[in-house]
């Protein structure tokens, strides 16, 4: 009675052990599963490759815009260099940090690089307000320093930033109620195609300009000074936005390049696994047929 009941269980156990086992038992998978996974990796590779191509074409345009805007921004800052303008030191006035990031992700660590730089600045000088341009840095900074954020802008980074964008942002910033001793625009500086550095540029307040040591070299009416400040702010913003945009495209190109490479590696790995498993299945079937034939001959 007991032996008869135990027999089917025994047979089932024998059948399990006879089934072909993949070379590495840890990632045991049937042929179908491996095939499905291969297909999905191929699709991902296609997507990342396309994104890389799109980013490379955008990159050339963005870089051209960057070199032009950098020239533009530097020219605008020559005035302050000649006047030897310095930010007003210390006191109780606040500093405003403008973060120039963008809305889109999938471009490596450039957004978090900016956020880290801003956090470092906040540790050094906690009396700061933050204006965030772009959704990505907003998400990161609102988690750690939400109380410091006063404004945020979205919808940037679809295309190369225009001067109109910079002007509108500068307008809204100058409408802020606070009186700021200096405005730091943090952006990603384009060093070369693979390295970017979060750097601040200074946009000065009126008092800072008026109290600069070499101020008398220029003939400026007091009323015009406010205009100069606003204009210089939007110039610097434009520069920061354009350079940040170029960095983002370049970083995205690199990230997608790496992703496609990794996908390629995975595809070869899974292809080999697939072939091995297939062979193991065939060998197993052959063994079954041969043993079956040998058994029936007797």
């Amino acid at each position: 009675m007991l032996s008869r009941a135990a027999r089917p269980a025994l047979r089932a156990g024998a059948a399990v052990s006879a089934r072909p086992v993949a070379p590495n038992a840890a990632t045991f998978a049937t042929l179908r599963e491996i095939e499905d996974r291969l297909k999905s990796i191929r699709n991902i590779e296609k997507i990342t490759k396309t994104m890389k191509i799109v980013a490379s074409t955008k990159l050339t345009r963005a870089q051209r815009a960057m070199t032009e805007s950098r020239q533009y921004g530097m020219t605008s800052n020559t005035v302050f260099e000649n006047a030897e303008t310095k930010p007003i030191e210390g006191e109780d006035k606040k500093t405003l940090i403008v973060v120039a990031s963008s809305d889109k992700g999938l471009c490596g660590g450039i957004h978090s690089g900016l956020s880290k730089c801003v956090r470092r600045m906040l540790v050094a000088n906690p009396n700061c307000d933050i204006v965030v341009v772009g959704e990505k840095c907003k998400a990161q900074l609102s988690r750690s320093n939400g109380r410091n954020v006063v404004l945020n802008f979205g919808g940037i980074g679809k295309d190369i930033p225009t001067f109109t964008d910079a002007q509108a942002i500068a307008d809204q910033i100058s409408l802020l109620p606070g009186d700021y001793a200096s405005i730091q625009i943090v952006y990603n500086k384009f060093i070369n195609a693979t390295s970017y550095e979060a750097t601040p540029i200074e946009a000065f307040s009126e008092e800072a300009i008026a109290s600069s040591p070499n101020f008398s070299a220029f003939e400026i009416d007091d009323e015009v000074l406010a205009n100069l400040r606003e204009y210089a702010l939007s110039n610097s913003l434009f520069w920061a936005l354009a350079e940040g945009h170029a960095c983002e495209q370049s970083a995205r190109r690199n990230a997608m390049d790496n992703a496609s490479k990794n996908a390629g590696d995975m595809i070869t790995k899974y292809q080999i696994l697939f072939n091995r498993t297939r062979q193991a299945v065939i060998t197993g079937e052959l063994v079954e047929i041969i043993t079956g034939a040998a058994a029936s001959e007797e």
Binding site: Q167, A168, S174
Partner: protein, 73 residues
């Protein structure tokens, strides 16, 4: 030196963008289309209060509204 645009509540940047728009519009058709694309701006923004984000608003509308307000005073 008093500026007419300043008295009507415009900031210098707004004044510049109005002037730029006029120049763009007076270009010939082929160049105007390319130039006007540079003048487009569809940013949104939100004010923050005590670590909380306010509503997202169109930046162009808000700027126009604040200029109009400044003109009234």
């Amino acid at each position: 030196m008093a500026f007419a645009w300043k008295a009507s509540g415009l900031t210098y940047n707004k004044y510049l963008s109005v002037a730029a728009r006029v120049v763009r519009r007076s270009l010939k058709d082929d160049k105007r289309l390319a130039a006007e694309r540079r003048g487009e701006m569809e940013l949104r923004f939100a004010k923050w209060n005590n670590g909380k984000q306010g509503d997202m608003k169109s930046l162009a509308d808000a700027n126009a509204a604040s200029m109009a307000e400044a003109a009234g005073t």
